[in-house]
Symmetry: C2
Subunit: 314 residues, 2 copies
């Protein structure tokens, strides 16, 4: 049976512009669940990974608001909290859709840790903005009190920045692989997984954010997926991001993708990381990666929508 | 290989009187992890369940503090959040201890849903106090605004009360059973699991708190455990709770335990629910349940500490 890892973007869990109520999140998860069931109905074994940016942002706001009475947890714990929250919504809605379609399959959320290197240069150069916006003086005060790095956010105000280290292996791969081989729909590596470093015999959580598509690529490789499907809310990758001459890409080789990446053809805050994750998967031997709109998930897997990235060897 | 379900009390994750910092929680989890490794070293397959009261209490405080800017999530989502948080701490520390002892075993946290009946009388009679303390007027206002039931707490002030429905099955048992049979240390059913009811083909989360020991008993039965070990911070169950004539119990049959429960010999807020969970497990065919101090986990399994509950048939 073919195996696919599906990476759901943040919009699959909280639609742009939607209110952040439970009902909105549930409705969004339900919509994603329908597409997951469509994919499974094609005969795929499925592992799902997902972003957690909006959810962790809200958890950080809540922690700060209550910091006078409850000690805020470090960012690694916040990531684990969000895996529980989002996994729950996806697990329930996916289970429901399968049951309603008479194709009942077990669904499991596996809390996931992602190994990163302690000497990853990202730790010296935090770049990822997270959490509440502050006035400069308040931000500088928190930087001293909490040991944070803070910077002016391009959107205005000051925020905390954290490292985004590169993932190199997923701690729970053996567990995820045996469940998916057993026909379980597995939800894993949420938010890129909690970043951990090996410190002698110990795994130690680090405050940082692992790119969820890059972690998904590593996971897809490790569980032996043939396809890696990155779902977002645009139909295709485009060249010429930020120019007037954008051009849809139907298919590109890893070499072409690397050339385009180097030339800055994709937005760094948007499609660039997804293309990089696609390249990571295919260059490690994956059959193909596809970047597509969530609404066109099955068409994308059939090669009729989205942007396909292949090795170009054959 | 013998299989045991170990229920960790709240004190295993946040010691009484300890500050609620990450460091304190990590240290407590590390201590519990040492005992789990001791148990596994005796040759047991191990499933771990745990309470989440202090953690969910803090999540609720954080949600309320930020309710002007972030919509609070319902209690079922808060339970899922706490499963991620606590699962992470246990998973990392257990993995570390095993690795340090050269007995590496995979560890997995499985997000768990627990089936309860929609017509459980508990839904008409909420009894479980949760979340922040309020003045009466504020509590009554929240009751109207959020649809809560609020009551005066015996400790002073007003609080929200939620139902504590009886669990009858664990949704993820098939997944947990196959992992534990494969020698994985499984963390599951945290906080009793998220209570869900069957509504046609759907599983719908309910705002309530399932007793974690009772859910653990159902889980222990369903995964075919021979022993159910309830770890807390007292050495033995005592008769005559609240009187001057307390008496340690080394061993009791299910019938004796039921008689003592009916006579109110155990505190309802403390040992009563644990004894009831032990009875539930043994009366469903479990070999034995043991209630003991976390520090004496292995002695308790060897029958040399704690209070053993057996069927009394043989």
């Amino acid at each position: 049976m073919e195996r696919v890892v599906v990476a759901l973007g943040g919009n699959a869990l909280l639609r742009r512009g939607a209110d952040d109520t439970f009902e909105e999140m549930y409705a969004a998860a339900r919509g994603a669940a329908e597409r997951i069931a469509d994919i499974a109905a094609l005969g795929y074994e499925v592992v799902i990974t997902h972003g957690n940016g909006p959810q962790v942002g809200r958890i950080l706001l809540q922690q700060e608001a209550a910091s006078g009475v409850v000690h805020p947890m470090p960012l690694d714990v916040c990531g684990a909290l969000s895996q529980g929250q989002i996994g729950y919504l996806l697990q329930v809605t996916i289970g429901d859709v399968f049951f309603e379609r008479g194709m009942e399959r077990p669904v499991a959320t596996v809390l996931t840790l992602t190994r990163v290197r302690p000497d990853d240069p990202a730790f010296q150069r935090p770049t990822k903005f997270i959490g509440p916006f502050y006035q400069e003086a308040e931000a500088q005060g928190l930087a001293v009190a909490r040991g944070w790095t803070v910077k002016p956010d391009p959107h205005g105000g000051w925020r905390r920045v954290v490292p985004s280290p590169a993932p190199y292996s997923i701690v729970e791969t053996p567990i995820i692989a045996r469940l998916v081989a057993d026909d379980v729909i597995v939800i894993a590596s949420g938010g890129g997984g909690v970043p951990v470093v090996e410190d002698g015999p110990r795994l130690v959580g680090r405050e940082g954010v692992v790119d969820k598509d890059l972690a998904g690529a590593i996971l897809a490789h490790e569980v032996g997926a043939t396809s890696f499907l990155i779902l977002t809310d645009v139909a295709k990758v485009q060249r010429g991001f930020g120019t007037l001459m954008t051009e849809d890409i139907d298919r590109m080789t890893v070499d072409e993708a690397r050339t385009f990446l180097k030339a800055g053809e994709f937005g760094e805050g948007s499609m660039g990381p997804k293309v990089r994750a696609a390249v990571e998967f295919v260059s490690r031997g994956g059959n193909r990666a596809v970047i597509a709109d969530l609404a066109q998930a099955t068409e994308a897997l059939a090669g009729e929508a989205g942007t396909v990235i292949v090795s170009g060897d054959g």
